[in-house]
């Protein structure tokens, strides 16, 4: 699971509405996957990132320095874009858990796949 994907995850329960964003990440196994750098692509991702959630996730992973937010004229700042490229697209969480901030429910990540299925009990309205 890439961190960009994590940034897009949110629990949404039928009939109840969104219950949790962001999902608290606890990673047991992380891998760095080299991905070809495409500055334009990264630049287009930046406006879609929820920074608070990203910083929270990165914090638990003890990664190298991550920008605290989009800087001015980031589209042309290669250093910034490369950093974001690495954080969003190259960090891959293989094993771990995601926790709903509201209910405390835990969802497993295994083999890089988050399993967000809610048990029947949780979906009862």
């Amino acid at each position: 699971m890439k961190l960009l994907t994590h940034n897009l995850l949110s629990l949404h329960v039928r009939g109840v509405g969104p219950r949790g964003f962001p999902l608290r990440l606890q990673a047991a196994e992380v891998r760095i996957n080299p991905v070809e750098f495409n500055p334009d692509f990264v630049a287009r991702m930046i406006p879609k990132v929820e920074w608070a959630a990203l910083l929270e996730a990165v914090d638990t992973l003890h990664l190298v320095e991550v920008p605290k937010g989009p800087i001015e004229r980031y589209e042309h700042d290669e250093k910034f874009l490369r950093q974001m490229h690495h954080v969003l697209l190259e960090v891959d969480v293989l094993e771990g858990t995601l926790q709903c901030p509201e209910s405390g429910c835990l969802f497993p990540i295994s083999c890089g796949i988050p399993n967000m299925l809610l048990s029947d009990e949780e979906t009862k309205t």
């Binding site: 699971m1 890439k2 960009l4 994907t5 897009l8 995850l9 949110s10 629990l11 949404h12 329960v13 039928r14 969104p18 964003f21 996957n33 334009d40 692509f41 630049a43 287009r44 991702m45 879609k48 929820e50 083999c111 890089g112 796949i113 988050p114 399993n115 967000m116 299925l117 809610l118 029947d120 979906t123």
Partner: protein, 586 residues
């Protein structure tokens, strides 16, 4: 050509030969083997459906033991049957419209196709069979001593309709001895595969397992059977090698069918055709959200988990118009694929960031193997951020939801995900598989079907494969109602729905006769790629899985989309057996 009549089609290599045949044979009077005068009528047709049957296998569990009875014993055994006894209940002799029948041990009741287990017939099986049954037991042709015998006498022209012997009435093994004449018996699988099997004279037919529980068997009422000339009177499947076929006149055949009556409910592996198990959990049209969820769990989620790998191997070709949709999106778009399956579309456009969501852990696992981003989640509660996605696709997903309310809810989820201005592409299986007189590839594959077992569930097998888009009113046999909107508003059943209606099982590659149905998925039982092509035993068809579908009528998907708020329908079209909509969040 008058309807409901049998016709023979002859294909000639050249037009000249065809013309010559026509001139020579049309209107000619011939005399048949019974001395009857027949006039031949020939006509040219524009095209004929030609079934190229490949090599077929005997239904699993089926065996024919030849020459199990000597000619001398055959005579004795046939004479032992007293057909002229007075009709009384003792030996259960009845005179049916067609064949003559006698029962021993227990009477078989045709009203409910079962035996009366509390009233065994006095006398049991005739003594003459004792030593023969012992012999068969010892030699391993049968495993249990039968306690019921039905004797059928078929004169030429008699038959018996295709049926499965009632599961709850009899144990697994059913054996049938053919004396007096050979016959061709047809075995049919719920998928539609028909296997004609020659039962030679004095042979024993043994039906166990799948051949006993799942395949139907029957005898066509006719006076001649089409048989294989080269095989003579030996047992085996009648293939479609036209050059080797000939007619064989039927004689009087007396069959002795031995069965063991079951005293407990049946617990076979074929619940959908089992009367014991169907009484407990018949898959029927869901009446509540809980039932809907259970139905989907059993007949969608569980099935895809089981067939994931095989399913994925048949889902390799992306549909062009879906590809077009994805390729037209601006670079850097965020796209959600809800019901992504094996991730077929996730890697199509490298300029997009696509995340797949599917209910099946195994299918998502396949996405992961291909280094695609995917997660396990439910289409009714997609675990993705609202209002953040530039586009969504939902390809062949919504038709797996079993109530109109749930289908609309799934569409609502797509809209929830979209940012204002974002677009969603939705594909669902169409009820109308024939459009503007052109059959979808799904239907057209029918004639190739029996010959190409591996292709059975290829991409072309299910709608949405390459080719024609011919939008127009379909000409269907089943009445089509647009149920999506009415059901939601009425909050329940529509007028034409029958309560507790059982879901029909669809025959693959035929037109849909119902909007809600179970579609078989046929997984091959471990065939190796190098398996020798004539090995009838090892080419056993594997288990059948049934998937629930609600196929959509013309306009139904569009109607459902229009009920959603903040939505504009941009496109609505038909693509190779699918109804498709592009909508935009406003």
């Amino acid at each position: 050509m008058p309807p409901s009549k049998p016709y023979s089609f002859v294909r000639y290599k050249t037009a000249e030969e065809a013309k010559e045949a026509y001139v020579t044979l049309n209107g000619k009077e011939i005399v048949d083997d019974l001395g009857q005068k027949i006039i031949l009528y020939l006509n040219f047709v524009e095209k004929a459906q030609w079934k190229e049957l490949g090599l077929q296998a005997l239904p699993p569990g089926l065996m024919v033991v030849e020459e199990i009875i000597s000619s001398e014993d055959e005579k004795i055994l046939l004479e032992s049957v007293n057909w002229t006894e007075d009709i009384d209940n003792h030996n259960g002799q009845k005179c049916l419209k067609h064949r003559r029948v006698k029962h021993f041990g227990y009477e078989f009741r045709y009203e409910n196709n079962n035996v009366d287990k509390d009233k065994p017939l006095p006398g049991g099986l005739p003594d003459i069979w004792d030593s023969i049954l012992e012999k068969w037991l010892k030699e391993g042709f049968i495993k249990h001593k039968p306690d019921q015998l039905t004797v059928n006498q078929y004169e030429p022209g008699h038959g018996i309709p295709a049926h499965i012997d009632t599961h709850s009435a009899f144990e697994d093994e059913i054996v049938s001895l053919s004396l007096g004449s050979e016959i061709v018996m047809d075995f049919k699988h719920p998928d539609g595969v028909t296997v004609p099997v020659m039962l030679p004279r004095r042979s024993l037919l043994v039906m166990t397992g799948e051949s006993r529980y799942l395949w139907t068997h029957g005898i066509t009422p006719r006076k001649f059977d089409t048989v294989q000339a080269s095989k003579g009177h030996r047992s085996g499947i009648i293939t479609s090698d036209v050059g080797d076929l000939t007619l064989s006149k039927r004689g009087i055949r007396t069959s002795f069918t031995f069965r063991k009556v079951r005293q407990t409910p049946c617990n076979c592996s074929y619940p959908l055709v089992c009367d014991s198990q169907m009484k407990e959990t018949p898959p029927s049209f869901p009446e509540s959200a809980r039932e809907a969820s259970q139905l989907e769990r059993e007949y969608v989620h569980r099935v895809y988990e089981e067939i994931a790998e095989h399913f994925s191997s048949t889902r390799h070709t992306p549909w062009p118009r879906v590809v077009d949709f994805l390729k037209a999106l601006p670079s850097g778009s965020l796209v959600a694929d809800v019901g992504c399956g094996n991730g077929k579309y996730l890697g199509i456009n490298k300029e997009l960031y696509m995340v797949g969501c599917d209910r099946s852990q195994n299918l998502v696992g396949i996405c992961r193997e291909r280094h695609l981003e995917a997660l396990v989640g439910d289409a009714l509660a997609v675990p993705l951020r609202s209002g953040s996605w530039d586009a969504c696709i939902s390809i062949a997903v919504t038709h797996h939801l079993s109530t109109a309310e749930r289908r609309v809810a799934a569409l609502q989820e797509l809209v929830r995900l979209l940012r204002p201005g974002g677009m969603a592409l939705i594909y669902v299986w169409a009820m109308e598989q024939e459009y503007k007189k052109k059959k979808s590839k799904y239907l057209r594959e029918n004639r190739l079907r029996q010959g190409k077992e591996e292709e059975i569930h290829s991409d072309a097998a299910e709608p949405g494969s390459l080719g024609e888009q011919v939008p127009d009113a379909g000409d269907q046999d089943a009445p089509c109602r647009v149920s999506a909107v009415t059901d939601v508003r009425a909050g329940g059943g529509s007028a034409s729905k029958v309560t507790d209606a059982k879901l029909p099982v669809h025959t693959n590659r035929t037109s849909f006769r119902s909007q809600d149905l179970l579609v078989p998925w046929h997984r091959k039982g471990n065939p190796g790629r190098d398996e020798p092509v004539g090995a009838t035993e090892s080419r056993a068809p594997g288990p059948v899985f049934h998937r629930y579908y609600h196929v959509f009528c013309a306009g139904e998907l569009e109607e459902a989309c229009r009920t959603l708020s903040h939505v504009r329908v941009l496109q609505s079209y038909y693509d190779q057996g699918n109804w498709c909509v592009v909508l935009q969040k406003v």
